[in-house]
Symmetry: C2
């Protein structure tokens, strides 16, 4: 795998040696780009990655999620070692796959055309790597699928140079119950301070807001102002009980949309295709291409309908590609998406914030570059809202000049907490660019909570840490439209309320003068 | 390479299939995280990656850089196809290495402990991939090292599934001159609009500001307000002539600092070591470990000095690791760094901005997590400065409330243009957090140009697109100290100037009354 060649340049006396890094080594060297930039952040990111895997393993497959997250110090001689374990009642992982799923970076079941939280085949492995390089402790996993009559156990690490699993222990037990699911456990160097605690608990809270159908328990060391644990440590337990049994419709895997492919993808799928004719190839491998559309495309490209796809030369494939890009298609099917829905958003905001006014909107599916997406938004105002803001939201509004916007960002149901100012959504709703004051009649002292969720088969994150969303014009427009609509409704409410208050005031004055008039 | 295993779960009727993605396929699917998020941005990023390779191949090796960048439409039937070619007089690439260096993602000569612009083994390959998937055209390269008597030519693409080169053509010519260097050429889908033009030309301009020892020529289509070229296209040529022959001292590869290693690195280098004793191993493989220090470390770890490193067990290696982290070391050597220097920064700012006041500072080397770094800063004020701001700086100050800060960010001599608001440097110098007005006596209408350069063996970029720097406390402190010092000097200048003006004013008034007094 590893090549080492030296190139000597005698004149400049320069010797350059070259090397191929494995994907493990690449991410190991650059762990901060995946969110593992410090012990505190690594703890947060570890919780995230495991929780997101658990929700993908349940909700995406029609199972009401039960998730238990536990963070504890188990090693009294190393008070900065934290064991994170996450248990779920998901579909489990077949035992023959476990070592690769957790020991090979970029090994994943989530490379498909379907909305999932995971997308890079990276998350769990980054946490495992981080544990391995900071505490030296291997990863442990228990898992069982529902059709298996055993529970499997593995203890493993990642071989960084080779990008493959090193299995230290494996075992299996007869299953006495119908349990299926996974328990993933890793020990990493962390840093338990107020900020770590806040980020993790806000992450779980915001997850619960938009997943009222989930049962989530978070157990973590009580933070008492001290940095280090003192032997017998107290725990803090936070429970989010299931509020509804209604799951959002799970995402359905679909074929790619013709506008979402590039020349290389077309070449690859032609070279891997088993279709006898190119017309058949087009109809079978893409959504939104029926018989007529296939013929239209082939006519423009000047290719016979019954040509064998494998016999097309590069020029012809290029002509085909251009022809595909030149015709019109029905926009991508929203089947692979699983939005939250207006009802659940309103329930979540009401429960957590106890506001005076709340509303929500789920926009129609749109697409960018062949990827379908749906933007949803919620808005909350007044009442007990400002007392109920979480720590991150409170921190965020501190830097603003009013009216204050507390933004709850979500992408594929993941709450995004870091890098707010670099995010597409912030660039739309922030009070410098969105005219909350003049157009929407807010007072400078008002606080508004805005929730925005972007669901897509491909969320255009700026980085593999999945923390902020890049500027994509199509998405930006939808976010704008959603928030404008909600702001309009809020304005209507505020104007009505003010009128009512004015009328009441007038009436009061009127009452005052009645005796004199009378 | 590609595995496909299906895991069937009969109860939930869920079938999950798994797959290992190659690093090529990973970055191909997620090209936006490497800066290839749109045709316009891809054009900018392509220029960057090739220019940065050219500067690494010259300056890092003590060669005064000559770089010619040319962007042109060559295919009249595809006005959105752009050919980018970058030529340099660098060390060249040995012919046997060329296919891997440009056809394998993560293949690189820049994985060493030394300051270079490249760091991920990704840049050139991303541009090649992008060309391949948008225009289908392969990459072309001419290269010769100084000791070779031939010039080599290759035409190649990346096999995405396998992460290996596909060579379409190769050739070699006798060399008639002593030329050495590289010409890299790729054709990608781009978008030539004002924004693209501005970003590319500002990128080159800012590169020239801090590399007055380089000769850089940029040839690009003249932007005349139209999006598409019209057959015979005019070019715009910008030349930055070499102003000085003085190169900064090139970076020198060094051994890693003991504080920069983690447990896994220690295990790997022990397993790969050829040293007979562990004491020897420590002294030979790290900087800042002499005989005494090695013995101190081993005593704490309870390991005999003459143990064979290969015979240490995991527990012992962990003890060794902890011991290393517990002792004191001289901070990392700055040898692998190559700062710009105060003189060159001042020359650059003066030449380009023509300000009334300019100053610069190069701080002493510091380190974070074993990585040495140096922060440098420059400041410019008054004069013709505001007329000479480039497009990006002008855009950036638009959103601010005065005093206005135009920030020029650099990392390892790369100008950073995107994601300013997410950057560590901005979080220090922005007028909301840095008290330019009260502490440093600026007027609300003043514009100040601040240049900050971070040089390190590992710049903590937030992403592989190398556009913004993550919050690292040690670096933050240095940036703050550098800018505070320059702001103090500026204040002194301003206060003096105001006093002089006041004195002149008084004198004028005095003169006015003299006749009456007399
Ligand atoms: N709790 C879990 N239950 C079921 N499958 C899981 C679980 N955690 C991880 N997996 C499987 O392991 C794969 C790798 O996980 P991960 O490294 O986090 O990458 P990603 O989630 O991006 O695919 C997932 O694609 C999924 O198929
Ligand atoms: N113009 C050039 N001159 C000499 N060597 C080059 C040039 N461009 C690229 N290379 C070599 O090819 C390697 C791969 O380049 P690239 O893909 O940009 O990754 P990186 O610059 O991060 O290493 C570099 O490490 C360098 O050794
Ligand atoms: Mg995951
Ligand atoms: Mg990023
Ligand atoms: Mg490079």
């Amino acid at each position: 795998m590893v090549r080492d060649i030296s190139a000597v340049d005698t004149m400049t006396e320069n010797v350059e040696s070259f090397r191929q890094l494995s994907p493990s080594e690449f991410f190991y060297r650059n762990k901060e780009i995946a969110g593992f930039s410090s012990p505190s952040r690594a703890l947060y990111q570890t919780v995230r990655e495991f929780v997101e895997n658990s929700l993908d393993a349940t909700e995406v497959h029609g199972i009401l999620p039960n998730v238990v997250i536990s963070i504890s110090r188990e090693d009294s001689s190393n008070p900065n070692y934290f064991t994170v374990s996450v248990e779920d009642n998901g579909i489990g992982i077949p035992s023959n796959i476990i070592p690769d799923a957790f020991g090979r970076i970029l090994y994943s079941s989530k490379y498909k055309f379907r909305q999932t939280r995971g997308m890079y085949g990276l998350g769990a492995k980054m946490a495992i790597l981080y544990g391995q390089i900071t505490t030296g402790k291997p990863f442990e996993i228990y898992s069982s699928t529902s059709r298996s009559n055993k529970i499997f156990y593995y203890k493993l690490s990642v071989d960084i140079r080779k990008n493959e699993p090193i299995v230290f222990e494996e075992g299996a037990w007869e299953k006495k119950t119908s349990w299926h699911g996974t328990i993933a456990k890793v020990t990493i160097e962390g840093d338990w301070n107020k900020r770590t605690r806040d980020y993790i608990s806000v992450y779980v809270k915001r997850t619960a807001i938009i997943a009222p159908y989930a049962d989530i328990t978070l157990i973590m060391p009580k933070f008492n102002g001290e940095q280090e644990g003192n032997g017998e440590e107290e725990s803090e337990i936070v429970c989010y009980k299931r509020v509804t049994d209604k799951l959002p419709v799970p995402p359905k895997e679909t074929k790619p949309h013709p506008l979402g492919i590039d020349l290389e993808m077309l070449k690859m799928s032609i070279s891997e295709s088993k279709n006898k004719t190119i017309k058949d190839f087009l109809m079978k491998n893409f959504q939104r291409i029926g018989e007529k559309k296939a013929e239209e495309i082939l006519k423009i490209a000047g290719i016979d309908f019954d040509r064998n796809p494998k016999n097309l030369n590069d020029k012809e494939i290029e002509a085909l590609y251009k022809s595909i890009k030149s015709v019109d298609f029905i926009s991508p099917s929203p089947d692979p998406l699983s939005p939250i829905g207006e009802e659940l958003i309103k329930i979540g905001l009401k429960q957590v914030l106890n506001p005076e006014f709340v509303d929500a909107i789920t926009r129609k599916p749109k697409s960018y570059g062949g990827h379908p997406f749906i933007v949803e938004a919620g808005i909350a105002y007044g009442g007990k809202l400002s007392e109920n803001l979480d720590e991150i939201a409170r921190d965020s509004i501190k830097g603003q000049s009013g009216p204050f916007i507390a933004l709850l960002r979500y992408a594929n149901k993941i709450p995004l907490l870091y890098d707010e100012k670099a995010d597409l959504i912030w660039s739309v709703v922030n009070p410098d660019d969105f005219n909350w004051k003049n157009t929407y009649k807010l007072d400078p002292s008002d606080i508004v909570v805005v929730l925005v969720h972007i669901a897509s088969t491909k969320v255009p994150y700026k980085g593999v840490g999945k923390e902020s969303i890049a500027q994509v014009e199509e998405i930006r427009k939808e976010v704008e439209a959603a928030v404008q609509e909600l702001a309009r409704r809020l304005r209507k409410y505020i104007v009505k309320k003010r009128k009512r208050e004015e009328a009441e005031e007038k009436f009061r004055i009127f009452l005052k003068y009645i005796p004199e008039v009378a």
